[in-house]
């Protein structure tokens, strides 16, 4: 029995560190947030906060072994806790501004070093670590090199900072929790929106939007088709929160049949500028929460939509620029004209 389990593990395990190990690390960190929150009497909703991060941690520790229905119930519990204000803010066990200023003078620019270890490791891991395989087994799963290197960078920076600055052992968890509390329930928003995207895909929302565009807009001129394609990519991406979901639908509905086949445009130029028109939509939508809503919380902005508002004029101007660029380039350049 035990040998069976071992063998199964050996078959599944493709690298020393894979995504599953990174999820375990994250699970333990989030569990630390939960425990420290539960112990924090200055948080008026400490048990709600602890329950939220505890469930989130459970998802990282056990999610791969739970049935989909249990993961669904877990997600729903997070929705209810976050949606009905079960989360509070812990008391800030951090330093005062005066202490920080003195400390900044004392440690100097060396303070940047641990912070830069994270991107440096990410860079090194993505470029070099991918090909390291002591004893035949790759050290990291190459397909997940970026995420694994990020986690490795965090671990190294964590240890370096502990050894160098010598804070209380639990200080990193309390400081992490301080930042996590400023984000609050919005932290799970990106994952929830990705899940909603999956339900949309299952229900055929993309096909329905494609039909609306293909059937209700007249395309007797190439410019109309290009404008509908670019603006459609932007709008549909804003709805789905993700240009990857919009691209196949809009390209099948307008891009290939009209721009490429009917009017003879170059598919590479169409595809490249079409995708970037979708990215203009990403700049405008709360559905892309990890880019637009989480940063607003992380920067402690009172207006949840402040980042979107800063980006909206750029998105509109750039979408117009894309439409014109595609019209000017797609029929004149490229290697694919018949």
């Amino acid at each position: 029995m035990a040998r069976d389990a071992n063998r199964r593990r050996a078959v599944r395990k493709l690298a020393v560190i894979g995504l599953e190990e990174v999820y375990l690390f994250a699970g333990f960190v989030f569990a630390g947030f939960a425990v420290q929150s539960a112990r924090d009497r200055s948080n008026p909703r400490r048990f709600g906060t602890a329950a939220f991060w505890g469930l989130f941690s459970t998802s990282f520790l056990l999610g791969s072994h739970l049935p989909d229905s249990a993961n669904g119930a877990l997600a729903l519990a997070l929705v209810l806790l976050g949606g009905f204000h079960a989360l509070g803010k812990g008391g800030e066990r951090t330093t005062s501004e005066a202490v920080r200023r003195a400390s900044a003078t004392e440690y100097g620019n060396a303070l940047f070093v641990p912070a830069l270890i994270i991107p440096a490791t990410a860079l090194l891991g993505t470029v070099a670590l991918k090909n390291v395989a002591p004893g035949g087994m790759p050290f990291i799963d190459a397909k997940q090199a970026t995420l694994i290197s990020l986690a490795l960078g965090v671990a190294i920076a964590w240890i370096v900072a502990l050894l160098w600055l010598r804070p209380r052992l639990l200080a990193p968890l309390d400081e992490g929790r301080r930042l996590m509390d400023t984000i609050g329930w919005a932290a799970v928003l990106p994952q929830m929106l990705a899940s909603l995207g999956a339900v949309f895909a299952l229900a055929g929302v993309g096909r329905a939007v494609g039909l609306v565009f293909a059937h209700y807009i007249p395309f007797d001129h190439a410019f109309t088709a290009i404008a509908a394609y670019c603006i459609g990519m932007g709008v549909f991406t804003a709805i789905m929160g993700n240009a990857f979901a919009a691209f196949p639908v809009m390209t099948a509905a307008i891009g290939l049949p009209l721009i490429v086949h009917k009017f003879g445009g170059d598919p590479a130029i169409m595809g490249a500028i079409g995708m970037l028109s979708g990215f203009c939509g990403t700049l405008t939508t709360p559905m892309a929460a990890n880019f637009n809503i989480v940063p607003a919380a992380l920067l402690e902005l009172p207006d949840r939509y402040a980042v979107i508002k800063a980006q909206l004029p750029t998105a509109i101007l750039l979408l117009a620029a894309n439409t014109i660029l595609m019209y000017v380039l797609v029929f004149r350049f490229g290697a694919h004209h018949a």
């Binding site: 998802s59 999610g63 989909d68 249990a70 669904g72 997600a75 009905f84 951090t94 330093t95 920080r100 200023r101 400390s103 900044a104 620019n109 303070l111 641990p114 912070a115 991107p119 993505t126 997940q144 995420l147 990020l150 965090v154 200080a171 990193p172 309390d174 992490g176 930042l179 799970v188 928003l189 994952q191 929830m192 899940s195 999956a198 339900v199 229900a203 329905a208 939007v209 709805i239 691209f247 196949p248 390209t251 290939l256 590479a268 490249a272 500028i273 079409g274 995708m275 970037l276 990403t282 880019f291 637009n292 992380l298 920067l299 207006d303 800063a310 980006q311 750029t314 750039l318 380039l329």
Partner: protein
Amino acid sequence: MLTLLGVGVVVLGFLIRINPLLVIAAAAFVTGWAAGFGPVAILVAFGKAFNESRYVSLVFLVLPVIGLLERYGLQERARMLVARIPAATPGRLLVAYLALRQMFSAVGLVSIGGHAQMVRPLIAPMAEAAGEKRGAELSSGARFRIRAYAASADNVGVFFGEDVFIAIGSILLIKGFLEQSGVVVQPLELSLWAIPTALMALAIHGTRLLLLDRWLATQTAVVPSESSP
């Protein structure tokens, strides 16, 4: 067409500012119901996707390290650094960050940057410090606008830089989808034709970042005249 009801729920929910988590759950159930799925099937699909997209949340792993360094004055150090550069303004600093973020992304180094790793601990405090140098205290409105623009520089930089790199996910998706439809294009062509938009993005957002300086000047011009003797 009934499946589009869920999209309506999302738009309405965000517009009237109901808690987004509740909006998402409601939209998922409405969409699934409209497509003829039972509540359990919807819960299963939602749970599966939630579990598979855990990687999106890994960015929060950096918070304990960033928080710890903030405890020892990381943000204050970033401010001190900028205070020594006379030519630094919030707009110029953010244009430089935008250009760097685009260039790094264009050679595939998307993970250099990011809101938790770079913008909150370094870029936003630096931009604020550059704004404070003119002598006057920043109003909270000005401070919040500088921070929001710092986040926008990161987003615009990575979005309109990464497609210049041939091995990024979106390039592979375009190639894969066109190939399924019988059209073969090379990744290099796709990344080449991402360059005109990348330059436009730098020009448009760069100009807007520099205009931020002008807006800030009108703000600070009012504040000191009120408080000066």
